[in-house]
Each structure stands twice: as C-alpha cells, then as structure tokens.
Amino acid sequence: MRPRLIPVLLLDSSRRLVKTVRFGKRTYVGDPLNVIRLFNEKEVDEIFVLDIDATSDRRTPDLGFLRELASECFMPLAYGGGITSLEQCEQISRAGIEKIVLGTSSENKGFVSDVSKNMGSQSVVACVDVFGSGVSARCFTRSGKSPINIDLIRHCVELQEAGAGEIVLQSIDRDGTRSGYNVELIRMLASQLAVPLVALGGAGEATHLVEALKVGASAAASGSAFIFVGRLRAVLINSPDPAAIEMLIRGGS
C-alpha cells in the first residue's frame, strides 16, 4: 500500500484559493481550477477542496463549480464546506466527487450516520479541528470559532461509530505554520481508531509528511507543503515524489 499524500485547497467567499495561518491571516493563492489542473497533471494521490467560508456565509455547495472540477480531475476528490443535508451530499456525488467532508455538521452524529447509511462510510470524511496538545487538546467547529465540549478521542470514536470512513485531524494552532504536524496527537489518535486517520495542519516539507505517516496516519494532508506563492504571486506546485517519500519511510526509524 502506498502512503497517501493529499494537497488541501481552501476556498474563500469569492471562490478564490487561499492559504491560512492558524485559521486567521489569509494569503491569496490563485484560481482554484488552474491549481487543481496542475495537481491533476502531477497525478497526485487525492485532493481535498474545502470552502472555509461556506458555513459562516450560510452558503450551500456550488454544484456548478464542483461539476467543472470533477469533469477533468481523475483522482479521488473530497469536498467540504457548508454541507447540511443529505440531498446536497447526493448532488455532490452525482457531480463526480465521491468524498464528503463534514466539519461543522459532524458535530451532529445523527447526520454523520444518515450520510453514511445512504452513501456508504467510504464517502464520509469527518474533519475534527483541534487546538492544543495532549490532554489540553480541545475540539472546535465553525472554522475554529465554536468549542465543543467533548474529549477528542471520545469524539473521534463516536464519529467512527456513526459511520465516518476516515477522520481528518486538523491542528488549528499549527495551520499554515510549516513547523510540522502535532505528531503526538496523531500518534495517540491513530492507535485508538480503526478507520484511517488523515493528518492536517503544520506540514511545510516532505519530512513532515513522513513523520505523520510514521506515527500511524494513513494519509498526510497539507496546503503549505504542496503550494508556494512566489514573487509576483506566481503559484508553484510542489508535489513530493511518492517513491522518495516511501524511501524516507523505510529508511531510518
């Protein structure tokens, strides 16, 4: 089995591609479709597209955009942002996007269970945003604005039982910092979960991706590790060679 590396692309209210730092400061990256095409040409393993303003704007998923995206990207695609109904999930799947990322709406485990029963657990990805480390780690929804009062592990196990087929652990305090993942949290959670864990938040280079995979993440996801914004806003796509990653994993401890 090859390790999965997943570029994560964030969309804002104006459907521009942005990068965030700790869920706050934003840098404009470029046109999403152009960037997604570049990743498609690189034959990346998978792409996550997350609309980070949809929930606060109370916007529903932009199906026209998602259809355009899926019509030329022949890899696993996951979309999240503003999803509140099963009907929306079915429309997204019809467009050719097979994974639904539930962030804010995953707080409602009944909804996770409904989507999973109707579409299969393989299409349900729960995204858990976490601030802090170890026992002080706290879960948040609504783009890091609303804390939820539940233990991280219990929350994730409940999501798994409700039918989430994968869980994304996103570190709010490492987002966009390029300082590396919260490795301890990934290690602890991966050992408690039967379903694959996707690490997100903090990676800035290939060695970070490898660290997450080594401690039990099934996939290493990142915005910063795959995209650089150069001078004059030139967007550079950087996708680490999977063979090199595999060598890094196998070599050394």
Binding site: M1, R2, P3, R4, N40, E43, D45, E46, R67, A70, S71, E72, F74, M75, P76, L77, S93, R94, A95, G96, I97, E98, M119, G120, S121, Q122, S123, G165, E166, A194, V195, P196, G216, S218, A219
Partner: protein
C-alpha cells in the same frame, strides 16, 4: 456504446466524466429494456451489498442483466461493489448476488501485527497474473485507487485477472468470458484508469 446501469448505488458522475474525457460513448439508464438490449454494460456500485441487490431487484434489473450478459453475451464491467455483485454472495449480506462468477465475497482480514486498516483506502500497485483484455500486458505495474472492506475470493484461479497486496495477495480483478470486474476505481485512477476504461470501451 456503454450503458452505465443507474440503480441509485454508485458514483456514476465520475464514470461519465472519464468516458466523456476519453471520447467513449456512454449512456446512463435504469430501464430494464435499455439494460437488456445494451451493447456493453458497466455496473457501478458503492455501499452495502444487500442495499445494492435490493436496489437492482426494486428496479427489476436482474432479469435484464441476465439476458444481456448470459444470453446475449454482451461484455460487462463491474466496478468496486459492482464486481462483488458478479459473485454468488457476500459475507456482508444475506442476499444472493448475480452468481456469474463462482466466487464468494469475504471481509478483508488484517494479518496480526500488521498496520493495515479496513477499509482499505488508497493507491496500490496492481499485478496482472495473466493477459486479459483489461490487462493486455502481464508485466505492467499500474497503480489504482482502492476503497473497500470486502474482497472477491474466486473458486477457480483462472477467473482471477489481477491481484493486489493486502498483507497477502488478494484478487482485485476478474475476467471470465464476457464478464469483467475490478475492485478498484478506474474512474479515479488517473491515466491508469483511463487506459483500462478505454480498453473496455474498445472491446
């Protein structure tokens, strides 16, 4: 012309997208008469085995599928759960499958001490074990995208077209006469999937 069987279970949009991109004619239908008279069939499927069998029954598609595949000998490609439906039945459910391939569908077992997880999600190298229409080159190593918790176990090794490693080698593609199946998602597997779906389109 490929008819994609639309019985409400499966990622049909992605399959249509890839056939459109390849310039392979395809149509989507849930009508038994279209399925029975199809030139070529694609049976998609995600989710639970019994849910899919019930959906096929509800739309009265099983006699049409039998007519097209067993009587008229038209080519059919089952994708993911669609491949599992070609078999006798599955550990996941109680209902019988189409029964065209002498095979049972069993839950993936993680070998003790292994870090493998179920569902098996991700890219894996697929090894053809003989030359078939879907895998004309036996020494090709192509990667495909997998998402599954169950796998097909064939009675006859000759029905297996390709294998993948999951702690041990398991069947991930079948080929028996006009009947083909792949456990992975060619519509989500970049140029490797394009090559395979084009090969099916060219049959």
């Amino acid at each position: 012309m490929i008819t994609i069987v639309d019985y409400g279970v499966g990622n049909i949009g992605a399959l249509e997208n890839m056939f459109d991109f390849l310039g392979v004619d395809c149509t989507v239908s849930n009508r038994p008469e279209d399925v029975g008279n199809a030139d070529k069939l694609l049976l998609p499927g995600v989710g639970a085995f019994d849910t899919a069998v019930n959906a096929l029954n509800r739309q009265n598609l099983i006699p049409a599928l039998n007519y097209a595949v067993c009587r008229r000998k038209r080519p059919i490609l089952g994708v993911c759960l669609g491949m599992q439906l070609l078999c006798r039945g599955s550990q996941e459910g109680d209902l019988p499958g189409l029964g065209w391939i002498d095979a049972d569908v069993r839950r993936l077992e993680v070998p003790s001490g292994s870090k493998l997880k179920v569902p098996h999600i991700g890219w894996a190298d697929v090894r053809p074990i003989r030359e078939t229409n879907l895998f004309p080159k036996i020494h090709s190593m192509e990667r495909f995208y997998f998402v599954h918790s169950y796998h097909v176990c064939c009675d006859r090794p000759n029905d297996v077209a390709a294998v993948v490693d999951f702690g041990r080698e398991i069947c991930c593609s079948v080929s028996a006469g006009n009947i083909y199946g792949v456990q992975f998602h060619p519509e989500k597997s970049h140029r490797f999937g394009m090559r395979l779906l084009k090969a099916f389109g060219d049959l």
